[in-house]
């Protein structure tokens, strides 16, 4: 196409000049004739260049152009391109407006951040929830405007399921925020109002805490009398068994209530456990001795201390972690088996391990066993006197010490529970204190 058009044009020009030359030869002064012909051609070309320029300048199509020839083709093509691009632009505008409108109608707030945590864009819901101002806040750092310490540290290292923090704008409202990275160095922060959920959760916790507390006093009275009866020499024989059973059950109830309250306390406490000096070795030594010297039939419990490192944490909570794990191992291991307790350190921190040769846990149950009251085999564990809360307590307490609970088990062969503690929670003896207090 292109070549043919240009060939035509060249032929036309040649013919035009040839005609001028011929006329010049006929009437004399061919140089003038040629010059005049060239000038006409230049004028013709200039006219079209002008039209093209005007069209590109944004003017409307000025029909009718020459309908044939090279210039007509060029102008027509430019016109098509322009129309196409205009339509595309309209479409983009429409899509953009739709996106704007839909994100504006969302009840969740969205804030787009660049790599420096500077605000690139946010929707009206974010204005409402976070108190951002569209006139002044584009380009400001988000952590300068939302200054809650937990948020600031989350923004520095986003990960996990996001955080919940009080709204800076609305009194007594709670927000859940999650940061999702996308594209190159771009991040979007999604904010949701979770006041209702937080309040519900709080009500639930308060209810359990209050109920446990209220149940405890009547139970104490019951156990007290049952204790007295059980010790009574004159108790008729036929009452001995029922009273002993009642005493056992009421003790178990007390234990459940105590665990429930402990769990509630752990859940409602601040996210980080305190950093008191806890001498793990002595604690474990005493604990293992107690287990090993228990009068009832039990598997052998061995203790292996590979390090003398101490932990910075809450003594009561660490005690309940160690106690619950060892207690579980002893309960679920036959008297012929063995339970090994290990305390060791490596370059990733410290690990507390309890390995038993007990009944083990089916693989598909492992993720669920730290749930409250979850039992692999309800009949058996209840008969063994567990409260069903031990592992839930362990999990929470370990988390509060910035640790991880790892569970491995083969059914029928035994289980291994490992708590990992981060190096910043450790305190090495012998002068080389590496802990940051």
């Amino acid at each position: 196409m292109l070549r043919r058009r240009w060939a035509k044009q060249v032929v036309f020009l040649a013919a035009w000049l040839a005609a001028a030359a011929l006329l010049g030869l006929l009437f004399g002064a061919p140089a003038w004739w040629l010059t005049a012909a060239l000038l006409l051609y230049v004028a013709h070309t200039l006219r079209y260049i002008f039209l093209l320029d005007r069209m590109l300048d944004g003017g409307k199509r000025h029909a009718p152009f020459a309908t044939r020839g090279l210039w007509a083709e060029i102008l027509a093509r430019v016109d098509t391109i322009k129309t196409k691009s205009r339509n595309r632009k309209k479409k983009f505008h429409r899509v953009l407006r739709e996106i704007r409108e839909s994100t504006g109608a969302l009840s969740d707030g969205g804030v787009i951040l660049n790599g420096d945590n500077e605000i690139v864009w946010f929707n009206p819901a974010a204005t409402l929830l976070l108190g951002l101002d569209p006139r002044t806040d584009i380009g400001r750092r988000l952590d300068n405007l939302i200054r809650h310490p937990e948020f600031v540290s989350y923004l520095a290292e986003p990960g996990g399921e996001g955080i919940t923090f009080p709204s800076p704008k609305m009194e007594s409202a709670w927000l859940a925020l999650q940061i999702i990275p996308y594209g190159r160095d771009q991040r979007i922060a999604i904010v949701r109002n979770v006041t209702r959920e937080v309040n519900l959760e709080r009500t639930r916790r308060d209810f359990v805490a209050n109920a446990s507390h209220e149940l405890r006093s009547p139970l104490t009275v019951l156990s007290g009398y049952l204790d007295t009866f059980a010790d009574d020499e004159d108790l008729p024989n036929r009452w001995k068994v029922p009273i002993a059973e009642m005493l056992r059950q009421s003790n178990r109830m007390t234990q459940i209530l105590r665990d429930l309250m402990e769990l509630m306390r752990l859940e409602s406490a601040e996210s980080d456990a305190s950093r008191d000096f806890v001498d793990v070795c002595t604690m474990l030594g005493l604990m293992v001795r107690d287990f090993d010297s228990a009068p009832a039939e039990h598997p052998a419990v061995s203790l292996q201390l590979e390090t003398d490192a101490a932990l910075l944490g809450n003594e009561t909570e660490l005690h309940s972690i160690f106690f619950n794990l060892i207690h579980n191992a002893v309960r679920f291991t036959p008297a012929t088996g063995s339970v090994a307790v290990v305390w060791r350190t490596d370059d990733q921190g410290a690990a507390f391990e309890v390995t038993d040769t007990g009944i083990g846990i089916p693989e598909e149950e492992i993720p669920r066993i730290t749930e409250r009251f979850y039992r692999v085999d309800p009949g058996r564990s209840r008969a063994m006197g567990g409260t069903g809360l031990g592992l839930a307590i362990v999990k929470h307490a370990v988390q509060r010490h910035n640790g991880v609970l790892e569970i491995a088990s083969v059914e029928g062969e035994g289980s291994s529970f490992r708590c990992r503690f981060a190096p910043e929670r450790l305190l090495y003896r012998g002068g080389q204190a590496e802990a940051a207090v």
Binding site: R147, P149, F151, P166, P168, E171
Partner: protein, 246 residues
């Protein structure tokens, strides 16, 4: 000469220094806000453990003050900043002092809240104190927002809001005295709540100070010890001049 953008220097590392300094001031501000929030929560919910925890956590704020102070000295020594940068550094040095004081007051409130948790409370559960605390919290938030946005007008609002806080403090004061005269058994509780109100009022004053530094930082005008109307006129004028210049 107006301070609007922190990143206007030829030296990139200077930009980074100034920016990280500025960010750490606001981080410290966030910590102070949280401390006050928790102290007030301890008062409202009678949570003595939380109150004591607040008192214990004050060291974090002190530690930040020291480190920001050091960073300021380092910038002054190595960069010898002038004009807007100098004002920024000076304002930051003053701001962190006031923030640290607010932290100290929050510590006091935490202790008092812990003590008040153990004694019988008035039927209103210290509503007037909580109101005052609400206003003071808003003042701090507004001040730090103005600091973050380099917003002199917003800072002025805070300076004005301090009057309301002062009035409220006055009325709590009178009320407490009346109660104590009526029933001498409430004197120790009344004294504690008066100290608490006093701490809150001081926090309001510190917030006001910081707002004044914000105006100084943005416009280079010292507005301390000036009437609010005069300040307003100055800031509006300065703002107009700045707009005319750009």
């Amino acid at each position: 000469m107006e301070v609007e953008d922190l990143r206007q220097h030829i030296s990139r590392s200077f930009n980074a220094d100034i920016e990280s300094l500025y960010n750490s001031v606001l981080t410290m501000g966030g910590l102070v806000e949280e401390q006050l929030d928790r102290a007030i929560e301890a008062l409202t919910t009678r949570d003595s453990a939380l109150g004591l925890q607040v008192a214990q956590d004050d060291f974090k704020i002190n530690r930040m003050e020291v480190s920001i102070d050091e960073a300021c000295s380092r910038i002054l020594a190595t960069r010898a900043p002038a004009a807007g940068d100098l004002r920024l550094i000076v304002a930051i040095i003053k701001t962190i002092t006031d923030l640290e004081r607010i932290g100290d007051e929050a510590e006091k409130i935490g202790r008092l809240a812990a003590r008040l948790a153990g004694v019988e409370r008035p039927t209103t559960n210290y509503r007037e104190l909580r109101n005052l605390a609400g206003h003071v919290k808003q003042m701090i938030r507004g001040t730090l927002d103005a600091f973050a946005r380099l917003d002199a007008k917003g800072a002025l609002e805070i300076v004005k809001a301090d009057e309301i806080v002062d009035e409220e403090y006055e009325s709590i004061h009178r009320q407490a005295i009346t109660f104590m005269m009526e029933d001498p058994r409430t004197i120790s509780r009344g004294m504690d709540s008066m100290w608490l109100a006093r701490s809150l009022e001081r926090i309001g004053d510190h917030a006001k100070n910081i707002s004044e530094y914000v105006v100084y930082m943005v416009h280079g005008k010292d507005i301390r010890y000036t009437s609010v109307e005069a300040i307003e006129a100055e800031v509006t004028l300065a703002g107009e001049v700045a707009e005319a210049n750009t």
